[in-house]
Symmetry: C3
Subunit: 322 residues, 3 copies
Amino acid sequence: MTSVAELDRATVGDLVFVVDQKRLAALAGCEASVAIVPAELAAAAHAEHGLPTIGVADPYLAIAAVLEKFYPLAPATHGVHAGAFVAETAVLGDGVVVAAGAVIDTGANVGDRTEVGAGTYVGPDVVIGADCLLHQNVTVYPGTTIGSRALLHAGAVIGADGFGFARAAEEHMKIPQVGGVRIGDDVEIGANTCVDRGTLSDTVVGSGTKIDNLVQIGHNCLIGSNCTICALCGLSGSTVLEDGVVMGGNVGTAGHQVIGAGSMVAAKSGVHGDVSAGSVIAGMPHLDVRVWRRVVGALAKLPELLRRVRRIERRLDEPHEE
Amino acid sequence: MTSVAELDRATVGDLVFVVDQKRLAALAGCEASVAIVPAELAAAAHAEHGLPTIGVADPYLAIAAVLEKFYPLAPATHGVHAGAFVAETAVLGDGVVVAAGAVIDTGANVGDRTEVGAGTYVGPDVVIGADCLLHQNVTVYPGTTIGSRALLHAGAVIGADGFGFARAAEEHMKIPQVGGVRIGDDVEIGANTCVDRGTLSDTVVGSGTKIDNLVQIGHNCLIGSNCTICALCGLSGSTVLEDGVVMGGNVGTAGHQVIGAGSMVAAKSGVHGDVSAGSVIAGMPHLDVRVWRRVVGALAKLPELLRRVRRIERRLDEPHEE
Amino acid sequence: MTSVAELDRATVGDLVFVVDQKRLAALAGCEASVAIVPAELAAAAHAEHGLPTIGVADPYLAIAAVLEKFYPLAPATHGVHAGAFVAETAVLGDGVVVAAGAVIDTGANVGDRTEVGAGTYVGPDVVIGADCLLHQNVTVYPGTTIGSRALLHAGAVIGADGFGFARAAEEHMKIPQVGGVRIGDDVEIGANTCVDRGTLSDTVVGSGTKIDNLVQIGHNCLIGSNCTICALCGLSGSTVLEDGVVMGGNVGTAGHQVIGAGSMVAAKSGVHGDVSAGSVIAGMPHLDVRVWRRVVGALAKLPELLRRVRRIERRLDEPHEE
């Protein structure tokens, strides 16, 4: 096997993936040398399309494992670039890589083998664990702690001030944001995503949580472990996500609320108030997804419904002519 | 008093805050040494929970004032870092701080005591007032003027081109964006927020206005004083916000419209057409908030309503059997 | 003529534009020396308001052409800044400009006269065409190819990992994202916009497509030519936009779907499933725009409709008294 390819462009020597029955037909005429398919389809796939198949329990897990073998991350080739700025009081672990234009400020502590990309800023006294990868132009404010194996994509901003003001007459008086940010192990944070610092205590992102691009995490949010938050979501201040919550894109939360463990929130929902564990919700404002589906199914009939009710009223108001 | 803490983790020596009656119960068992509470609750709080209380008119204002005393901003400790790039024709006021990797381009003028963070770019002829703080990796395009005491968070982009094209057959022809951006005093601009330059004249952000993270301000917008714009809002070109408008998160405006002074726009609303001063609106497309509340209250009943109307129709069509 | 001005602030020597009949009245008392107006209004405008007029077929095209003449882009004045970092194996074309703090990594190839702004990072082996302008603090990951005359605004991130994970029990296993990004000619990409790399093959942005600020383009999206995508849109993975699609702001797509050529999607829509060419859609979830308009027109009447149906039911349940 020389490489991994998509079904519609595979040639001899390629390994391909079929994730479900629906895509099985695409094996017809596919020139790939081997296909990984769901175990229950393996025999049929081989019989029908001829090429060797490997049956697996979960093709997505197999893809993850195979791609990691085929495309290992290139090890970074240098330590601290001459064009990087590392404060004298900063502490760098073994094998740390700091690219040109990166700045590691006073008292910061960067763990073994962690890589800091070009133009990335690590603020005073920030603590970053081992084997992290901070891409380019990331900003980490002081008061931030990051675990091990975290992956921060370009332009991410960790620890900017929460959005908190008191109103004095017409004007705003800034409420100083003196809490920090605590990020667990194995967290991924997307490009240009923002995680604000807490007001008094820390904003927290639990281990194993994955956050997509352009997401806003407000001050004092407490995000559990192994959550998934898709692009353009906005979590208002003090939103609590228990473990394993999954959010589609562009969801908003009202803040000061708890979204229970394992809940799923459909894209573009607006979540107000607490949500019990295991809920599946959708809509703005949110409803149980089954109710929401019936509502949106009925919506297109609303104009016609108005006419029907008018017709009934007219009929009832007419003098009986029977 | 040694520090300020949240109610649920305060210990001896801590000052805590209670913002409303609802949170008063949390004082039970709280080890804090003193509590700031709304004036009307001070006596009761002391009687019930024992600890010393200070009654204030607005606890949020008190928080703002107290935190500023407890956590004063550390004064920046150096002037222009050796790793900063300042053009010969740039003018820096007294006490200006420019961090490593920052670039101040030709003819730019930076006011007294203003701090420019690592990796931040200040374009040619930009004018920035006194006592501003530009965090890291901010980009300020030429044609921008910023007042005093402005706070720009990391990754903010001021003055990128407005999104304006003419259609020539199938293709786009770019309309050059030759206006600038004018930002008043005491403005806060969130992380990765974008304020586009005007087409011919300037995009304006009035004094005292606070903008959260990941907000898009389109070309030629005119934003008044003391407005509040939460995360992920998108103001289309030529939107006018009069003074004191408050916008929840992820609001969109259609552009070429006026939102009157002091209006409040609920999160995720889509605003089309002018909105009179003092309005409170919600929904996509927006409605008066009272109407909107009744509509969303009724929405979940829509599928059942369809069934009820069908039942009535059937009944009316049935031969009378009385 | 000395400059171009807006109608309400033009003085002697200025050229002004009138784009439609509605704005014609603004010529009254306007001190401009000449007005460009739609051809069919030119004679009337001159007769009524006295000032010289030039009739054109499309005022927006005329604006684009005139502004380009009045405000030519200043040619960049230097080559590679001493404070830029260019890898030895990188190849720069004639007249390339690299600003202070920019990093061009190993094996990257930058075309003639392309300008790379301060703090911008061009990753290993990236290929960029001629006459491009990359503003400040842009990040281009390895695996990216960009055509000629592309314009990338500050903070844009091209090629960050797509958001793909397999679930192993409670945990996420990252699916390596080993595809790249291919961007055509004459593409504009807004400030802080993110275009993710593909999983196996490339994410593609076709020539002439214009993308506004803070947009998220997910992995494996295939975007055609001459599309327009407004701010804060989020295209989920494997969304296909055929040529000439126009999207208002903050639209979301569900992913794995085709939006047909020339379709128009209203702001804040949520698009699920395929959309045939030439469609005009709106709403979340989306409807044909005509249906959607009737639905939102009817929505405000829903609470009253509930009451009307209750009245009918009560009436039908009452004993007949006629």
